[in-house]
């Protein structure tokens, strides 16, 4: 791909051929110039799409009605191509079908650059792209499916009518839901068994002389296998040519950001600054902190110390929930001083790093609180560390114990552990949210610890009261039992202030 300039070139008519089907295998990279803005926008939108694919895929049975409905909605809102014809004038908000397909094409290749670098990233990318492909292929009409196969050189022979007749009984008994009539009507494809391993493995297909006899509607499995193989190879090749791309200074930061991307609010602007008092932190940690931050807070209280990784992750989170620099300094100092660090040393060594977090030192970057992606993927904790994502980095047994200590129900714990086993860490945290807040559905897709906090506060009716530093309330100890909604008296008063408070906790 070439990105020499900032001008957007008009695409020649030969490119129309490339986009004459709404679905593609992404065999050919795009050969046009695009602007950096478009580059970034396309990439971010596709990433949003893939993350939705992931979330929806765990919340609903894949390819069920609800699943399809939800994905359809995402597609529309993000302007990706559905199944309409190219010339279809049913334009939504000005983006033509052609432009959507172009975006689909280009964004896929950009994300390849970002996601080819490690096994984990590649696996994630391939998984979501496959689910996405399966969904889109499934939505095609029969004719479009055949068109697609032919366009992409999946020249599988169809089985002749005579052969079908002679094999009729065998074909009926080899696949689900086939009858004599459907066998006659449907096309069957003869596919070498190596290309149909999923069907062979589960014995859901008729095999003869090394060929699998696949009914038309099952062909998607075959196509998917092909897709996965091609994409896997392509990613490996991309990884090898990556150094050349990364040397382009305009792209390197963007690509690196994408692969750790949190695509959404980044909580760098504290609208709710100064609304939290230090005394509330203990209670809040039990009620509204995600598990990682609760863990860090507890470790800090117990050890009167946190190492760098923990300080960064927790410190930035606190900034995100609204602590001011002064509050932060007071918070950290008071805790560290209880430990082995005297006030002087704190001021000399640790205060600097707190100020740094707030952008008051060094290159004055106002650091943004870490998103879940970042916490999960970067900087894994080692001995003596308390940062990271407990669902990702804790041994399942220990995680179980911890959840038991926090009075999570046994069935809830099992659900969480299942999600952890499937590597759906954010969903596990979401489940933790649902269990500790006593709701069926969190109502949001968890991406960021501060989002957890915000949503929790929203749910709990914003039972915060604005208190000044001096005015000590007696809620200093963390009270695990108090995880459900605040008591009646409180909520009434809170309710009145809610109108005001709520606005502070709204997402943009």
């Amino acid at each position: 791909m070439q990105f020499p300039g900032r001008r957007k070139k008009v695409i020649g008519s030969s490119q129309n051929d490339l986009y004459d089907h709404c679905l593609q295998f992404y065999g050919q990279p795009p050969l046009e110039n695009i602007s950096l803005t478009e580059f970034e926008t396309f990439a971010v939108e596709r990433l949003k799409l893939l993350k939705s694919v992931e979330n929806i895929g765990v919340s609903y049975v894949k390819n069920s009605e609800q699943y399809v409905k939800k994905l359809d909605a995402e597609f529309s809102s993000l302007n990706f191509p559905l199944r309409t014809e190219l010339g279809d004038r049913r334009v939504q908000g000005g983006t033509s079908e052609y432009e959507k397909r172009r975006k689909d094409h280009i964004s896929h290749f950009i994300l390849r650059l970002a996601y080819c670098q490690t096994e984990d990233l590649r696996r994630w990318f391939i998984q979501q792209e496959m689910d996405l492909f399966r969904y889109r292929f499934g939505e095609l009409t029969s004719k479009h499916k055949t068109d697609f196969l032919h366009k992409n050189n999946l020249k599988y022979e169809t089985v002749s009518a005579e052969e079908k007749k002679s094999l009729k009984d065998k074909l009926i008994t080899s696949s689900y839901g086939l009858s004599g009539i459907t066998v006659e009507e449907y096309d069957f494809y003869k596919v070498p068994f190596q290309d149909a391993l999923d069907l062979v493995r589960t014995r859901k297909v008729y095999l003869l002389a090394g060929n699998a006899y696949i009914p038309h509607h099952e062909i998607v499995t075959i196509v998917l296998n092909d897709f996965r193989t091609r994409l896997s190879k392509a990613l490996a090749m991309t990884a090898r040519s990556l150094p050349a791309v990364q040397s382009d200074e305009r792209l390197q930061p963007l690509l690196s950001h994408l692969s750790h991307a949190y695509v959404g609010q980044d909580y760098s602007i504290q609208k709710n600054m100064g609304k939290i008092s230090l005394e509330q932190i203990d209670a809040l940690s039990g009620k509204s902190f995600p598990l990682c931050m609760r863990h860090l807070h507890k470790a800090l209280r117990e050890n009167h110390h946190l190492r760098h990784g923990g300080r960064m992750q927790y410190g930035l989170f606190l900034k995100g929930i609204g602590l001011t620099l002064d509050q932060a300094l007071q918070f950290w100092r008071s805790e560290f001083v209880k430990g082995k660090v005297d006030a002087d040393k704190f001021d000399k060594a640790y205060a600097y790093s707190v100020r740094h977090m707030f952008g008051k030192e060094g290159k004055r970057t106002d650091y943004t609180p870490y998103s879940c992606m970042k916490v999960i993927l970067s900087n894994p904790p080692s001995q003596g560390d308390y940062h990271g994502c407990p669902f990702r980095h804790s041994d399942p047994e220990l995680l179980k114990q911890k959840l038991q200590n926090y009075k999570v129900s046994p069935s809830g714990i099992n659900q969480i552990l299942e999600l952890v086993k499937g590597m759906h860490y954010q969903l596990a945290c979401q489940k933790y949210f649902e269990l500790t807040h006593n709701v069926e559905d969190a109502g949001f897709s968890l991406n960021h610890p501060n989002q957890y906090f915000t949503e929790s506060q929203k749910l709990l009716g914003g039972g915060l009261e604005i208190k000044k530093e001096v005015d000590m309330s007696q809620r200093s100890q963390e009270n695990p039992a108090n995880m459900t909604r605040p008591s009646q008296a409180n909520s009434k008063q809170a309710h009145e202030e809610m109108g005001d408070l709520d606005s502070f906790f709204q997402d943009e």
Binding site: Q194, Y206, A209
Partner: protein, 433 residues
């Protein structure tokens, strides 16, 4: 009997003789070279040896047949395993940049072990076998051979007796050797019907529709079931074993009517069972037959491209038996207790026709290698090993023919007549071996 003559303590004396004069090196080399179509196929093949005192060495590789012979005669392995064809010579794998030394190809293999049937055989257990339970191997070979040929389209299968309690299958087709790990695992799963270990009572579950593969397998089992299970294994012969059969099904859902005889002298078909439930259980009779007879594979053996498996013609140190190829045409009469032991064939060797031996020795001094081969060919032919080497020869010939056929197909311009002529020449050449 051949077995009673074998004493493992004699191995150190017998093995050198075996490797010098009986092991069919030229056929072995011919097999593993696969017609020389791929460069360095033999050179990049891994062998592993277990030497005296259980010393195990991996990553053995050889550049020529001669080198293979010399090394084996020098090291005198007690056990020989064959591994994969790698990207580089296995003996030099340490010199290769890490990550680039990779297993590329290997035959698709299956290992059927009698111990995996211990829960359903009453005559023996663990490493023991007898003529009564050997039928299980016959059934396994028939079912798998059919499936691998008819369903998967493979042609070149070598079935080998492992030397003690099971059989191995080497699928040597080109396509088979190139299969990925995922493909091997898929083939093995397709062929698996008996699932579950100690904790599982009901190991076979059938539901509609019954796949043609299962029906084919059932017809094989049914052929043998009466004799094997009812008579030989006598599974209905005692209350205990009948209970075991019935334990496979939740007894409360069924009741069964015996024949009039109280002594459980039943034919299986006389046991009628009434099912109370609509869902499942309608195939219980098939499930029982399969659970008692269907082949039990170890998927892990088949999955790995780099998995090492006992080599044909190696000796089994505990029994002394040679791992010989099995002739499927005589499968029903194959008797593992008639398979020659190393002591038997060495004995047979020592009964020379003395004058002939001296004459040949003189001729042989002229050309060492040829001499060695000629002598060896004469030698094994004098022993019980001969007929098994013949089976191996036929197997190799079939592969050679098929390779020529492939080559001819590729150069498609050849006229029909000339094809016929070439076939004649080739057939003539092959017989010269």
């Amino acid at each position: 009997m051949s077995t009673s003559d074998y004493d493992p303590a004699c191995l150190p004396d017998l093995l050198p003789l075996y490797y010098r004069r009986l092991f069919p090196f030229s056929q072995y080399y011919r097999w593993l070279s696969y017609g020389g179509v791929s460069k360095n196929y033999f050179q990049n093949r891994e062998f592993s040896f277990t030497l005296k005192d259980d010393i195990y060495v991996r990553y053995q590789s050889f550049t020529t047949q001669n080198e293979l012979e010399k090394e084996m005669q020098k090291m005198v392995p007690y056990k020989i395993d064959i591994g994969a064809v790698y990207s580089h010579r296995p003996s030099q794998h340490n010199a290769v940049k890490s990550g680039t030394f990779q297993a590329l190809e290997k035959e698709l293999v299956f290992d059927i072990d009698m111990t995996d049937y211990d829960d359903v055989r009453r005559c023996c257990s663990a490493a023991d076998i007898c003529s009564k339970c050997w039928t299980l191997m016959t059934i396994a070979i028939r079912i798998l051979d059919r499936a691998l040929r008819e369903d998967f389209g493979f042609h070149h299968l070598l079935w080998v007796y492992s030397g003690r309690r099971g059989v191995h299958c080497w699928v040597c087709d080109d396509a088979a050797r190139k299969l990925s790990v995922a493909a091997r695992s898929a083939v093995a799963e397709y062929l698996s019907l008996v699932k579950g270990g100690e904790e599982t009572v009901r190991k076979v579950v059938l539901s509609d529709p019954i796949h043609p593969f299962i029906n084919h397998s059932l017809s094989v089992v049914e052929r043998y079931f009466q004799q094997y299970a009812i008579v030989d294994q006598d599974i209905l012969g005692s209350k205990e074993s009948v209970d075991k059969v019935l334990a496979v099904f939740p007894v409360d859902r069924y009741f069964f009517k015996e024949g009039s005889s109280v002594s459980y002298d039943l034919h299986f078909s006389c046991v009628s069972v009434k099912s109370n439930s609509k869902k499942g259980g309608q195939y219980f009779d098939k499930e029982i037959m399969l659970q008692y007879c269907y082949p039990r594979l170890d998927v892990n053996v088949s999955k790995g491209v780099n998995h090492l498996l006992k080599s044909p013609f190696s000796v089994h140190p505990k029994t002394g038996r040679i791992s010989v190829p099995i002739d499927l045409k005589e499968l029903d009469t194959f008797d593992p207790f008639e398979v020659p032991t190393i002591s038997l064939i060495c004995e047979e060797l020592e009964k020379p026709r003395a004058e002939e031996a001296e004459e040949d020795d003189m001729k042989d001094k002229e050309n060492e290698q040829e001499a060695g081969e000629r002598r060896r060919i004469r030698d094994y032919k004098r022993t019980s090993l001969a007929k098994y080497v013949k089976v191996f020869d036929r197997f190799l010939e079939a592969m050679a023919r098929s390779r020529k056929g492939e080559m001819l197909k590729k150069s498609g311009e050849i006229e029909k007549d000339s094809v016929f002529h070439i076939h004649l020449i080739l057939a003539f050449t092959l017989q010269m071996d």
